[in-house]
């Protein structure tokens, strides 16, 4: 018996991994591979882009989508849009929140403070569904974390995920820009009030009407508000919202890596010297 048997088996693994379709993603379009400033081990958020993205969320998405994990103060914290403190206060103050009870036991309305969570568009799930034809607009706090953008053969998929991340922001961008006319064979079975979007996670039909149109918002920095631009910006904003501490993670990660590599090199030299006593 030789080494050939294991080698053949190994080759079989390689082949199956290379050609096997990955789990359940056969039908979905892989997300469009757009480049973002926050990719890679040193990637950071583009402040201006995340600020524009917040504007898109605020003026368009927030009409239906909540972001329960976000607080207004996050908008001014390091590593994100970094709005100046006065602006964060001003943004919060545009919203009314219910507080109380006061000394006489009554609830009252007051302007929101930076410490308040983003104000929800609907008081509860039933209200959200009722206003959206039965569909529930998902909370967007973690949307870029909970959606995987890529699909394909196992080996390619795992490599792509390792290099480009899980593809959540790309997924958001792709859905926002992915509305198209349904193919002829599907058009007939279009469900009432649904739109064709091949990038959508749960089948081709999405309850959300195309949310963006050119010029839907007016950017203060003069950037032209095309659908593509707004989709990129809001995807970047949501990527930040999904992990507000991403920049801290990468910065500390780099420091840790440098430390560990140097430490390992020194340990190796010490180890070699010690073992040198006993090597012939």
């Amino acid at each position: 018996m030789s080494r050939t048997l294991p080698l053949i088996a190994l080759a079989l693994i390689g082949l199956s991994a290379a050609f096997a379709p990955a789990l359940g993603l056969e039908e979905k379009h892989p997300a469009k591979d757009v480049g973002f400033s926050f990719e890679g081990p040193f990637g950071t958020f583009d402040r201006a882009q995340v600020q524009r993205g917040y504007q898109v969320y605020k003026e368009v998405c927030s009409a239906c989508h909540s972001m329960t994990l976000m607080r207004f103060r996050n908008l001014g914290e390091p590593g994100g849009p970094e709005f100046p403190p006065e602006q964060v206060k001003a943004i919060a103050a545009q919203y009314k929140v219910t507080d109380g009870p006061d000394a006489s036991g009554n609830m009252f309305e007051r302007p929101a403070l930076p410490s308040d969570p983003f104000v929800k568009p609907f008081p509860n799930e039933a209200a959200a569904r009722a206003a959206n034809g039965g569909a529930l607009p998902p909370d967007l706090s973690l949307i870029t974390k909970m959606r995987a953008g890529w699909s394909g053969r196992l080996l390619t998929l795992y490599t792509t995920q390792l290099i480009k991340g899980m593809g959540g922001p790309e997924y958001v961008y792709s859905v926002l820009t992915g509305y198209e006319e349904p193919p002829k064979d599907l058009a007939a079975e279009a469900p009432e009030g649904k739109f064709y979007n091949p990038y959508f996670e749960n089948g081709h039909w999405i309850g959300m009407p195309p949310p963006l149109s050119d010029g839907a918002v007016t950017y203060a920095d003069g950037t032209k508000a095309t659908v593509d631009q707004m989709a990129r910006d809001v995807a970047a904003f949501l990527a930040w919202a999904g992990e507000p501490k991403m920049e801290e993670r990468k910065r500390i990660g780099f420091q840790v890596m440098v430390y560990l590599v140097v430490f390992a090199a020194l340990l190796y030299l010490v180890k070699r010297r010690i073992w040198g006593r006993h090597e012939p």
Binding site: A9, K145, F254
Partner: protein, 414 residues
């Protein structure tokens, strides 16, 4: 070592203390002077790596518990609050989560090292069996911990795994209800899983202590697989292996840090960032990568009860390994036939892992069944037979003979 042997400490305080509680002597004998085979390769450093990983998991876990809220309404958000508002919480939480993956990665290498070099053979059977017990407790701990963030996959994993017990005849449903603390996976389930997830790591620590104790009675196995002879076959644990282990631990931490800081979500499932929803079943319920081979075995058997038995059997069979392997030769380096089958087993386990990540249909089901059958065939048929039929290569008389060039300066000096 003899029970009453005491190291003669020069320092009077040390001598006073040690004669009352010989912990210093213990340290000296078992951590510093402990005679260790001189030829251990880097696969032997995974013991130290695993000890470090256990400490990492316990320390990060204790910090996480300070901020975690074990309630179905708050568990998910409290993990998010850790990631968002706790100082360095994003890093500590990822260290714990990615740490679990790295822990399993290291333990699998550790186990396959034992399989290759015959570390389960006499006189190390008990050492090996404690190791299998550690694996089982580790798996239970990892599963319980995975449920705690109360994401979609957490919830459905809890549902699927606890439901396995319903396959038990007669009492199945009653047992599942008892495990859940109710009629579905709900708050009582989360609470008891949290309690047990906190308990089991300390059980693990105790088992690790026994594991090391059982190791120090016969001493380490080694790549040559022959018993050490006192003198030139061994070196004191310190500084030789303290340094070698420390170096290996730091190299392992580089890999750990690379995943943790730069691909923290790579080893998990994105859908677990969605809050548990009992009304929406995920399209595919898949465990973390380290459970995939066992999941494949479970699903490749059409009968539920038999599938559960096969899955648990695939681990329990390891307890019998010292008696299933009939060859007196330990190291696969001197077993030309067994070595081939060893690598086939490694490949079989990888195939099972790939199968486990795919839906059990079509060719995946067939491949899964063949791989499952082969897994058991390896232990129940191939191992005993190869031991009888194989002609091993001549084993060196001693470690020194195997590792030192003939007539070397070192040998001459002895």
């Amino acid at each position: 070592m003899a029970e009453h042997a005491r190291y003669d400490f020069k320092n009077p305080v040390a001598r006073w203390f040690d004669s009352r509680l010989p912990i210093l002597t213990m340290t000296k004998v078992h951590a510093l002077d402990y005679p260790t085979p001189r030829n251990l390769n880097y696969f032997w450093t995974f013991g130290a790596i695993l000890a470090v990983m256990l400490v990492v998991q316990i320390v990060t876990g204790i910090v996480l518990v300070m901020h975690f809220v074990p309630h179905v309404d708050f568990a998910f958000d409290s993990i998010e609050e850790i990631r968002r508002d706790v100082n360095y919480g994003n890093i500590i939480q990822k260290m714990h989560q990615v740490g679990a993956s790295m822990f399993f990665f290291a333990v699998y290498i550790h186990i396959f090292r034992g399989l290759y070099y015959g570390s389960y053979k006499t006189p190390r059977e008990v050492l090996w069996m404690i190791g299998v017990l550690i694996l089982l407790v580790m798996m239970a701990t990892a599963f319980l911990g995975y449920v705690l963030p109360w994401g979609q996959m957490s919830f459905w994993a809890a549902k699927v795994i606890t439901n396995l017990f319903s396959a038990i005849p007669f009492f199945g449903d009653a047992i599942v209800t008892w495990l859940w603390g109710g009629y579905s996976v709900d708050n009582p389930t989360l609470n008891r899983f949290f309690s047990l997830h906190y308990l089991l790591p300390f059980v693990l620590a105790g088992l690790v202590f026994l594991h090391i104790w059982a190791l120090h009675v016969p001493g380490n196995n080694n790549p040559v697989g022959v018993e050490v002879r006192p003198g030139q076959d061994t070196v004191p644990f310190h500084p030789y292996y303290t340094m070698k282990d420390l170096y290996a631990v730091v190299v392992f931490l580089i890999l750990f840090a690379a995943f943790m800081f730069f691909a923290p979500d790579y080893l998990g499932h994105p859908i677990n960032y969605a809050k548990a929803n009992p009304l929406v079943t995920p399209t595919h319920i898949v465990p973390e990568w380290y459970f995939l081979p066992f999941y494949a075995i479970l699903r490749s058997i059409p009968d539920k009860l038999l599938g559960v038995i096969a899955m648990f059997g695939s681990i329990l069979i390891l307890f019998a390994l010292p008696w299933l392997d009939t060859s007196p030769v330990r190291s696969a380096n001197y077993r030309p036939v067994y070595r081939q089958f060893f690598w086939l087993l490694v490949i079989d386990c990888i195939i099972l892992g790939i199968v486990g990540s795919n839906p059990p249909e079509g060719s995946w089901l067939i491949i899964g069944r063949i791989a499952t059958a082969y897994y058991f065939l390896h232990f129940l048929v191939i191992m005993p037979l190869v031991g009888f039929l194989e002609v091993p290569r001549p084993v060196p008389a001693s470690i020194s003979e195997a590792v030192l060039p003939a007539g070397s300066a070192f040998k001459a000096a002895e």
